[in-house]
């Protein structure tokens, strides 16, 4: 059981004179610092950092970890985030000194093993997505979107065309329009139809000579496959635009269908989602970008290439590149984990990943469809959305349902997204969960639905068992306290 007391900050357990480190004695002749640095550059007041012993430190962070829910703690069906199991071998591999203790500016011939991993990963991701080349540089999905859109922009500019509009469905992730904005492009939002898919007539009406491209997540954020994709690609291409594939939901299509074959020109993958990252409490992630041959000249440099003699090297020769989007070569440690995962699963395994992810999602959707509104009653892919509108009529909001799930040891689904579904619950079970886990979760969800009818206050007042109750977010934003201030 969790400690119900208020948890001290590490600054509050600090005592002057305690240490948690050990450094060797200085073995070079010590020079008076005044001879090394002019007085005005010398720090006057030391940073007030904690002073704790090693055991105090470990207890502090162990207690903090006990106040945190991860995939290893329990079911985590957070839609669009693909909270699948994070393999332990990945963590071991990333810690091998031959990978963790190498410098990005070492000569290529001294890092052949690292370059081989990156080269193989580039090849495998290109094959998985049906693209011609991959850059591993972007640090995350949003960085991948920015990279892809900048390449689309460069492509049009290279042809002497000024195309400024990016078409984004209203079900899209918030990063899509934000990425368009920071890439200097304008967003045109188009609606979804009653199927939950892009309104094809709205798309037809939206394209024109100013269309730079279409950004699409497929399956979309409702968990539905955009089945008109071939026609959509034709419409966008005929208007002179390009298609961007947001890979946030790629976990549904591995080995089944490839963005490249659907007509997409550029794609990003979230390695921390589909390829077992892990998520790290918010990152680091990795967002490699794949392109068709038409966009090849614009990729960020460097790319890893393999010479005829089998040596790997970093190729910086990209005169038409959009430039650099991240220092060095991307989040190598995450790339390593993704490659280790691919080598664990292989083609057969990745296919089974997507099959089971879709099976799990459909099974759970059917188990819950009676008790909760299912706004789009059709086959889903790796995730699905429910609406809490029935419960809302009973005075219980989706937020309350999410909080009630905390009492049962679950991380709630994504809520209030996508924006087009009222009181939305977006559920992604992933392929790594057992049928038993899905059944237990379904039973709890059905129980909560009954509670909404019979004892709504139990849900409205949830959570009841967590280390803190609901937190006052409004005051946090109105009177921000963003750091600890000692009572001096």
């Amino acid at each position: 059981m969790h400690n119900q007391k208020e948890k001290a900050l590490i600054f509050e357990i600090s005592q002057p004179g305690r240490v948690g480190y050990s450094l060797p004695d200085l073995d070079v002749p010590e020079v008076d610092v005044a001879a090394l640095l002019p007085k005005h550059l010398l720090r006057e007041t030391p940073a007030e950092l904690p002073e704790v012993s090693e055991l105090q430190l470990m207890r502090h962070y162990t207690e903090l970890s006990n106040r945190n829910h991860g995939v290893d703690s329990g079911f985590y069906p957070l839609g669009s985030c693909t909270m699948k199991y994070n393999p332990k071998i990945n963590e071991d591999v990333a810690r091998y000194p031959g990978f963790s203790s190498i410098h990005p500016y070492q000569p290529d011939e001294t890092v052949q093993g690292a370059l081989e991993v990156m080269y193989n990963l580039q090849q495998d991701l290109a094959e998985i997505t049906g693209m011609d080349a991959v850059s591993l540089q972007p640090a995350a999905g949003a960085a991948g979107e920015f990279t892809g859109l900048m390449m689309i922009r460069a492509y049009h500019e290279s042809r002497g065309e000024k195309r400024t509009k990016v078409i984004v469905p209203n079900s899209a992730h918030g990063t899509n329009p934000a990425s368009a904005n920071v890439a200097g492009l304008e967003t045109v939002t188009i609606p979804s139809d009653e199927r939950g898919l892009v309104d094809i007539e709205a798309l037809r009406a939206a394209v024109g000579p100013d269309t730079a491209g279409l950004m699409l997540t497929n399956p979309n954020t409702l968990g539905l496959f955009e089945e008109d994709i071939v026609e959509m690609a034709r419409i966008v291409h005929e208007a002179g635009g390009l298609l961007y594939y947001d890979g946030a939901n790629a976990n549904a299509i591995l080995g089944i269908a490839r963005p490249g074959d659907m007509g997409f020109d550029v794609v990003h993958l979230n390695l921390h989602k589909t390829f077992t990252g892990p998520h790290g409490g918010g990152g680091p992630g990795a967002g490699p970008v794949g392109v068709k041959a038409s966009l090849l000249p614009f990729l960020p440099a460097p790319i890893v290439t393999k010479d005829e003699d089998g040596r790997f090297r970093l190729d910086y020769d990209k005169p038409h590149s959009i430039g650099r989007v991240k220092a060095y070569y991307g989040n190598f440690g995450i790339l390593l984990r993704a490659y280790t995962y691919i080598r664990t699963m292989g083609a057969e395994g990745l296919l089974e990943v997507s099959q089971n992810a879709v099976l799990n999602a459909n099974y759970l959707m059917r188990r819950l469809a009676g008790a909760y509104e299912l706004p789009y009653d059709r086959v889903c892919k790796h995730e699905f959305v429910l609406s809490g509108i029935r419960q809302k009529k009973q005075g219980v909001r989706t937020l309350d349902i999410a909080k009630r799930l905390l009492d049962f040891g679950y991380h709630p689904p994504t809520i209030y997204f996508p924006l087009i579904v009222e009181e939305c619950l977006m559920i992604e079970p992933t392929e790594t969960e057992t049928k038993e886990t899905l059944d237990e979760f379904a039973e709890v969800m059905l129980r909560i639905a009954r509670e909404c009818e019979e004892t709504p206050e139990v849900v409205q007042e949830a959570p009841h068992t967590t280390v803190v109750k609901r937190l006052d977010e409004a005051t946090a934003a109105r009177k921000p306290i963003l750091r600890y201030m000692p009572e001096r």
Binding site: R43, P300, R343, T414
Partner: protein, 451 residues
């Protein structure tokens, strides 16, 4: 083949399909048009069993020269420092690394509090009032800072010193092109610091920000106070990219009037990992806090008055502002921010100062020793922290190849990014380098110079 991450047995699948009223998994993919189906096996690397894969990855790792096999004097933005053992033990707790962004604060208090403490440590080191939960890395944080300054001031002209990390400047160019911001570069002097006369000449009342690095890419320490006067006199914001270790001994940029301080926490508890993932930090003033990109953790109270932490000021962010957002950042580097916070807690108030002082002393010893060798020249005259530039009589690549034979990873070849500095090597000396290693480097360099 059986897969250990996939738990569904044939019996499970049959039961689930039966519940769904379909006879095969294939039926669940009927909405994907036939013409876009792959209908063949992916042609990717073959699957290996766990023991086979471990052996294979170890073999690949062993092909890399690394800090265990060689003595490293390479820095240029990424450094080999002391990583206390506790760091790996804390970040290996899977409650931390298998969680995502703390959207549900009641079951994420651990992560949220750790980030709140991290934000406090960033403020303490930099002398700034507020900090966010981290950025992808130092260089992208710098580019984001420039875009924030352009947005806040409405002045779409940024001045950046050529003594700023070349890759950071490249990223800045990419971001600036996206948001239609002009970037002007100013040069450096024979001292190895930003040319203040040129900076003053380029500053106009339409300049939104001035960006410098502290210590700069050459290891020289910029006169921040003088730069601050110039920047603020023309109404530009001062953006400083600072090496956080140096702030154990150097005056905090916040004290010297910086408006935004960014950098990379890699030197504190984060392995070099061939360049990533590292951990950008981002700090600014209370006045600019609502313009800051990225996730921010704030302190609040729960319904019973108990202290707790939440993600806050979210009205700035992409998921709320969508096409009006000025930054698209969504994830952060939370696990590496945790690593940095653990390292900073272990080192603490004393350790951070001691470590910084060791860097300063050892780098100066190395600089003196190398400068005393025939044929090797230390070219810049400004004070340094833990890096300095040496002019070699031979191409740097050649020298580094010879150093490798002697078990040494040599310094950065400045000719890669500064044509005028071909033949110049940037050498980094951290607290981990011993006197014997430094002496060996100096001797090898001298021998190679005369060979």
């Amino acid at each position: 083949m059986k897969f250990r991450y996939l738990p569904q047995t044939d019996q499970d699948k049959r039961a689930m399909l039966e519940a769904l009223g379909v006879d095969s998994i294939e039926a669940l993919f009927s909405d994907i048009p036939r013409e876009v189906r792959l209908n063949r096996k992916l042609n990717i690397s073959k699957a290996l069993s766990e023991p086979e894969l471990t052996a294979y990855m170890k073999k690949l790792a062993s092909k890399n020269v690394n800090f265990d096999t060689h003595v490293c004097f390479l820095g240029a933005g990424v450094y080999q420092h002391y990583v206390p053992s506790v760091v790996n033990h804390v970040i290996s707790r899977s409650e931390f690394y298998t969680a995502y962004t703390p959207y549900q604060p009641e079951i994420s208090q651990g992560e949220l509090q750790a980030i709140f403490e991290f934000q406090t440590m960033v403020c303490e080191l930099t002398g700034m009032e507020v900090a966010n939960s981290s950025m992808y890395d130092g260089p992208t944080a710098m580019a984001e800072a420039a875009m924030m300054a352009a947005g806040h001031t409405g002045k779409k002209r940024m001045i950046v010193s050529r003594a700023v990390h070349p890759e950071a400047r490249q990223i800045l160019q990419t971001y600036a092109y996206g948001q239609n911001v002009e970037v002007v570069e100013v040069g450096y002097t024979a001292e190895g610091t930003t040319d203040l006369a040129q900076l003053e000449a380029e500053l106009t009342d339409q300049t939104g920000g001035v960006i410098v690095q502290y210590p700069n890419f050459f290891g020289s320490i910029e006169d921040l106070a003088a730069i601050e006067r110039l920047a603020h006199a023309s109404g530009a914001l001062l953006i400083v990219m600072a090496n956080p270790v140096s702030l154990g001994v150097l005056e905090a940029p916040g004290k010297l009037g910086a408006d935004i301080v960014v950098g990379d926490m890699q030197p504190f508890g984060i392995h070099a990992s061939y360049g990533g993932p590292h951990c950008g930090y981002f700090a600014t003033t209370t006045k600019l806090m609502r313009k800051m990109p990225g996730r921010i953790v704030g302190q609040t109270k729960d319904e019973e008055g108990k202290r707790g932490f939440v993600l806050t000021l979210q009205a700035r962010e992409q998921h709320i502002r969508r096409e009006k957002a000025t930054s698209n950042i969504c994830s952060n580097q939370a696990l590496n921010a945790l690593a940095a916070a653990v390292a900073l807690s272990a080192l603490g108030k004393q350790g951070v100062q001691q470590m910084a002082m060791m860097n300063l002393q050892k780098a100066h010893y190395a600089k003196q020793t190398i400068a005393g060798k025939d044929g090797l020249d230390v070219v810049f005259t400004a004070p340094i922290f833990n890096e300095f530039v040496v002019k070699l009589p031979k191409p740097v690549a050649e020298v580094n190849a010879a150093l490798l034979q002697a078990g040494i990873i040599g310094g950065y070849d400045l000719g890669r990014s500064y044509p005028e500095l071909a033949g110049h090597m940037l050498i980094a000396v951290t607290e981990l380098r011993t006197k014997a290693e430094i002496d060996a480097l100096a001797q090898e360099l001298e021998a190679i110079a005369h060979a």
